[in-house]
Amino acid sequence: MKSIRRVAVCLLAVALAAVPLVANAQKGGKKPTPAAAGGAAGAASGTPAPAGTDTIEVDDPNAPKDPNAKPPETPPADPNANAGGGGICDIDPTACPKQSDIKALADKKVNAEVYAVEQEFALKKGRFELNPYGAVTLNDQFVSHPAFGLTANYWITNVLAIGINGNLFAGLNVDSDFNFQNRRATRVAVPLTEYQWSAAAQFTYVPIYGKFAGFNAFIFNYDVYALGGVGALATRPIAVIDPDNRKFESFTPKIDFNVGLGLRIAFNKWFAATLELRDHIYIEQLESIVVPRSQTEQTNPDTWFGDKPLTNHIQAQLGVSVFLPFGFEYRLPR
């Protein structure tokens, strides 16, 4: 019994190892005979199919001749037969195509269905995307608000996703040295603010995708996406007008609309690099640039707040995307 079991195990192991090599065998082995050269039976036997099978190789002058094959029975030449028409001309001479018709058909434009960008490299439908990133401010020369963030998307289709996004700014705001220089030189101060966090629900749409060849040596795929969302951004003023009396402790969330544009470069089916521009649009609360005359009023927090301008905070985000599950299968071959 044991020896039978060992033999069975050995056979199983050999079969397991051999299965993936079957495809390789085609490479080194004999080139398969095209089906047209003799049909399935002929391909299997290595001989051309006998006359009378469905497929006949008519263009191959080097095709081996079957000595047993009967020569095709050629009907006697009919001097009245139309050379270009075949049987239809015998049945209905009026339907017989003329040479001019054939030329017109040959010149007719064919609307071939050729795709400039074939099969999308990485399908997204039904997958989750996690996109951690680092962000820097693009449009604030007074205070920069670098951040670490995370976007999580679920792709409803290959071009549309819903998701959430969050940024952590706390402890990363940088008051530019230029503010101090300007205040000292001109005695004019610019109200400044700092950020703590932001969160938003968003949708993402992919209108553009394509592929690039690098030095014509390798290819990578990319897509361009647009996003929109709404959420909250927590900010507070930095006391620069009257820092002796004013101290802004709490961060207040403001309604924050997000719009953005991004580029995603796929390294493989589940890993990509992303570069995104995101505009946070919100109503900011600035410090008042007016300092009351009396000490009592100066220490009254109600006098500390000033304008509420519509503010755009544009940030550039550089990150990576991981798609889950890692794999997917095409349902169509193209």
Partner: protein, 285 residues
Amino acid sequence: MSAENSVMKRHNLRSAARFVVAGIVALGVLGASRSAKAEEIQITGPLAGAPPVRKLRLQRQGRFEIAPSFSFTLLDEYRRTMVVGGSLTYNAFDWLGFGVWGGFGAIAPLTALSDNVNESSPRNTRTAVNVGRDFGAQVSKLTWMVVPQVQVAPFRGKLAIFGKLFVDTDLYLHLGLGFHGLDERADCDGGGCVGADKTMNSRVAISPNFGLGFKFYTNNLVNFGLEYRAFPFSWNRAGFDQRGGGNDGKFPDQKVNGDDQTFKFNQMISLSVGFALPAKPKLSE
């Protein structure tokens, strides 16, 4: 009983370990076979050694390109600059070109901060060195730029817009040495700095220029470009006395001179329309 149990457990553990090892070996064999298969196809398949793209339209190789452009600066503190200019490039290869980019600062509006300073800054002894009667007149200007440069286009492809419109595209990097004409507050010392009208002077700042851009080839002759350019150098953007004094030179010294030029990572975005000659590009193999 417990001894028997422990022997049984040991036996089961050994069997389980054997299965695990056998499983790992089998997976290794399978995995190795699969990766080997991919390698063999790459090396010996019918496409072995073939370029990833055949009959590629070489939009750059052997062609001259003239591209009028409009550029605007980013993150300006006191004055924005819009540069009208263009580039002339000869592309020796599809991935390498040589040329020159340049332009004039045609429009240079003040920022809101400059307007605010002009309106709100007190004119007294404390600000006399730094703020003149018309603050806008003392704010520096970028008047012209000339940049001999090389362009390297490592990435070439196409993009599909809404799956309907297809455009040849390339991504390129550019690197050059920039010559920048500046109108900047003239050097002054002591009483010469406190006049109501500040004197301006011209100078040329030399710095590296670098960045990247996209070109979208709508047809064989015309393309559209979007480019980012960085040109960092030090200059006194507002004409202030802000450096030169104190133990570390970081305090005002009642003089305006080269010490007051501070480093700025200048940046701009350019939009261009390019015309390439000869009008018909070559095709790759």
